[in-house]
Symmetry: D2
Subunit: 381 residues, 4 copies
């Protein structure tokens, strides 16, 4: 991994560097000849939850997402600045899992492109003109080459954009769905497929020996619409919602404390190295991970500089060097196939980020080559 | 103007409404057959300033923009999250004016498209492979059909993205160029031309009698890359930079107070109705207007709901109903032709927003049909 | 007025200065021989409102004060960090007015001192062992020498301090009562009497000719528990509640906009010169003025430097030089005598701050001796 | 420990409770007959640092404290809202330690009282009319009954209060010294002595078996001027500076990351249970611990409700349940006697908070009696 300094400082070494691109995969998914659908953005996630009332309480009463519509088995939720029907669907089921990662495309014709693209890839493809969820029309769902249930749609019911409804804002108001994060064993393989789908890498984590641990990929001009995190997969690592400011995220933590639900806070709040965003990770009542996120940067130019982080840099995942809790590396949600059965999980064969960075055998640094002071919790694991 | 409520409240009337589109212009600029260049975003403004040292002090020492490069006659400035050479050029000259509104395009080939597009429109077009400013290569400048000096470029020198360099942040850190705002006599005419150039209207101000007072238009998925404000033109109303949070904007005001430069604050800080952003308007030493801006919303979907504001709604320009200072309506900067001479200014023939809303003959409301309490300053003008 | 710079800047003149003390009054109220009661802090205001339901909506549903107790005619409200029964009493009545400015004293014995102190001053004094309002025991009310209904109490019912109840916080959460502000014709006379009562001046506004326009006075170590504002009095200028941060105040404005109640915003938000606090002035449904206030400074040392502002300094009332709306100078609430009748209002004989600073005959400056740029609204009045 | 709910919630148990007072010590320090000096507030700490240049860089260039005066061996620093000469003295020496915890008293006469008070206690007392540090006059230093070097002074040089000098503010501006924190083996013994000195307990940590782990004590009406933390002592746990808002604290973390000094962050940022303040703990180049702190609550009433936390409540030290790093419990700075030699450290005989709450034998809860989810780092130690 070469290291071009893209952000330097007065410190002994550059703060942020640009390394080599994510390497080509050993076992690539072939690029279809059919053009990819034109994806606008991540739009919603469909979650299967085991106790709908408890989950509704978490997402509505605690986090303040807005109920667009609901029935006995399903709650359709959106963020305050959204004008499409929903950003999150909670559906009652026996096994907590993810039923769909759903993207909005630019036009109705992009659904035809999605069908052709995934058909050529040999994937199972299902199209429903009436949609798979309320509020959404013609939709395509696929079991993608990595085993994830991906959805594409254009047709959607418009609802009130509540941006100006400050009478409805809570101190921790969630204003936008920001991104997904997926766990998959082979990150270069996933990246190559997603690039074929039109996504671009904005940041990644590598080591000097050619291993890629994670990559962030975008369609809309933020750091990501989804990220590929190396690990046993296919699994869902998290879904992220954005707030306007950092104090909104702190308010969510304060409220969880007041409700004696502080154990829903898994990691953070903190500042990411990757993405430069301020973050918080929560676990919902089924253990699904939700990130609250604010203030990454514009990435919309085609030559937007990619940032590569050294896996041993302990500011990559938390800019303040605060340790990553092991569950954050190990836990993730199952994903479903189009019949609603959990996809089989395959182990990662390459090195694990957790193993190489924390614990007795791990190694990480604040200043390369420098001795650490040693009071960070990560050092005590 | 029909009024579909797009945001309602418990108040007697909807908070935010969607009216008819901006009407077709009486005297339209023909649509070229040549395809428009693919504009990514507003990228930089070139300002002529009469005292370079004084202006440098304002933009660098007071506002904290970063000097990429400078010489005796020119200072090249950028915001903290930018990776291209500059977002603002200060060039010494005898007459304070705007030399260029510059947009970045998606590819080098878009410069050919720009040449063809504007040539077909009968505009004066000048292309320089070495660029018009340092740090930027092949560029096209035109005198556009509205009389504005527009520039298009792709080739640009990459510089350090200082996003992670928090050691360089000031309390009022400017992180991004956000948009331009142009004054032009005939808003529908300007909108139709800009739509031909690929821009889309996100919000506008109209009245019940078919007059359009202003329109906000975007390429990148924010509320605007530029706005068309009705008035004597072509003139430049303002250039806007974004901060991360609202307190950053307040910090700029506090600093101006400490420096006994509070008279540089023309209007605000406040919350816009249009765009829902938090704002502040400053006047630089030559009177060029600079907006500091934060937190509008995502507009990237092709069916993003357009918002229409009633010109008489006194929350349209300031959501808190605080009055707009008359100079904000009347003052604007001259723009230059490609020879560096000021463009002639043409009066607006339609009604003026200032005239219909403030002063003895103006009319505005907080709640339509309701009596006002009357202590707002606007009522005392 | 001598001018010792206490805060300088790189600007041509000191930013903040310390002048001579408030002059001795021409017609002083004699200092009692009896010792003053030991006042801890301003504790609550009793407001008479003409429509209890409408006022309750304003203070509870809009501003988020907490109802401790209520009945058909009265609502007892407190802020989130308060542990005494109330900080505001809304009592239904025919004439909007203030029934009491109430201070908490250090011990039960201080009530005896209050009786002796005001009896010696020849004031009407009434003591009720059962208190004048619910939740409060033994209390002394007086018609003070300036005509204000002052109350002193120690005995009070403790209620839940909701500081940790973040589940109850709104985006604009009011956490503390901060101060009163009273309008009285002769400021030096009022200051001398309040100093006898144990208050100390922290800041004042004077001119070069010996006129004092206002003074801020404290017991608890903030800038004030009450202020004396020159004008026709006795009247109540405002009661102030504190938030934690500036964004909380902005959130209140945003909510008022969403509720189409923006005309309740009279002035601000802004940064005060005096006190250095961030502020907002609202008018309640009866026109009673409420300030929302955050972040003044510690004043508890006996030699805390007093700050004197030049009445012509247009950063004194708003650090950003934004104009003061005339109603803010002219409007204030009536105060009641102990029988519940409005006190007669006496005109101020000295110069008026409004007259000397705004409008055709007024004069104010940003930099002394410097020409103004002239686009501030205040210049257009 | 009885438990009166003082703050309840909808959760299964009260959020915050009031227990029995801190128990009487087994081996009390006698109460002097001489009256205690009237302490106003904690005023400054004198720190011995081993590399003055490196420490100056930390406190001035990184944290932004203001240099009032400096010479070859000493740097005198203050916060932005301070008007006395300094809040922190860095003095060059061979052994990193604390030379003085210094309090300001109400009057010059309080120095006589301090001498009498500590003389009666049998302490070593030294008075210097010229002061022990620059900028401060007549001062009394003592080796107090707990072994700490306490100082009392009234006479002090006034300097510019920089509150209005926003041109000098950094994003993480420190505006006030807030409190000290001392480590001492026997907390009830320390509390009793400090109560004799006029301090009052605002919050404490106890268990059901009568052990007191820590107590917070105040003179000025905040949660504390100093705290007594159970452990091997006398040692200095930390000195705390206040910011205005939470984002200021986050800015300090971000800057430390940019400077590749993130290992100076020991714990946080987070929300305290005790004090309800937002916090961050840093370690200076000598390992001295500095807290950055904002937004506790008013405690100035004599009947201010004391809050007692159960030592096993894992929201007591961090309201979000985030784990306390072991070094925070174990590390502290030596303190010096009046000859400049380190005081001998005595072990705590009672139970250790760290031992009873974290690690294999520790026990803590989010909801009493409830099973934990188990992904918090504290559980993995």
């Amino acid at each position: 991994m070469s290291k071009e300094p893209v952000v330097t400082s007065d410190a002994p070494e550059p703060v942020v560097t640009q390394g080599d691109p994510v390497p080509a995969p050993a076992d690539p998914i072939p690029t279809p000849k059919a053009p990819a659908p034109d994806v606008l953005r991540c739009a919603y996630m469909e979650l299967v939850v085991t106790d709908l009332e408890v989950s509704r309480n978490f997402y509505v009463d605690v986090l303040g997402l807005v109920v667009t519509e609901e029935d006995e088995n399903t709650v359709y939720l959106r963020s305050l600045e959204e004008f499409i029907h929903h950003n999150l669907v909670l559906r009652k089921g026996d096994t907590a899992a993810v039923a769909a990662f759903s993207y909005r495309v630019r036009s109705p014709e992009d659904l035809d492109r999605a069908v052709a693209f995934y058909t050529e890839l040999g994937c199972r493809v299902e199209r429903r003109s009436e949609g798979f969820t309320k509020g959404i029309g013609d939709s395509v769902r696929v079991e993608d080459p990595l085993g994830f249930p991906y959805e594409f749609f254009y047709d959607v019911e418009h609802v009130e954009r509540l941006a100006w409804r400050y009478d409805l804002y809570s101190p921790g108001a969630l204003v936008r769905i920001d991104h997904f994060n997926q766990v998959t064993p082979d990150v270069p393989r996933a990246v190559k497929y997603m690039e074929d789908l039109g996504f671009r890498v904005t940041e990644d984590i590598q080591d000097d020996e050619g291993t890629t641990y994670a990559a962030w990929m975008r369609r809309k001009p933020t750091v990501h619409d989804t990220a590929m995190t190396g690990g046993a997969g296919p699994r869902m690592h998290h879904v992220a919602f954005a707030t306007h400011e950092k104090h909104n995220i702190i308010a969510i933590c304060d409220k969880l404390g007041a409700l004696r639900m502080s154990d829903a806070i898994e990691r953070g709040p903190g500042r990411h190295g990757v993405s430069n965003a301020f973050y918080l990770y929560l676990r919902d009542p089924d253990g699904h991970r939700v990130e609250i996120y604010t203030q990454d940067y514009y990435t919309g130019d085609p030559d937007n500089p990619r940032v590569t982080w050294d896996v041993h840099d302990n500011q990559r995942r938390d800019w303040w060097g605060n340790p990553v809790v092991p569950s954050w590396y190990t836990d993730a949600s199952l994903v479903l196939d189009l019949d609603g059965n959990p996809q089989q999980v395959h182990e990662r064969e390459e090195k694990s980020e957790m193993a190489v960075t924390i614990g007795a055998d791990g190694f990480s640094y604040t200043r390369k080559g420098d001795d650490e002071k040693g009071f960070k919790l990560g050092n005590t694991l």
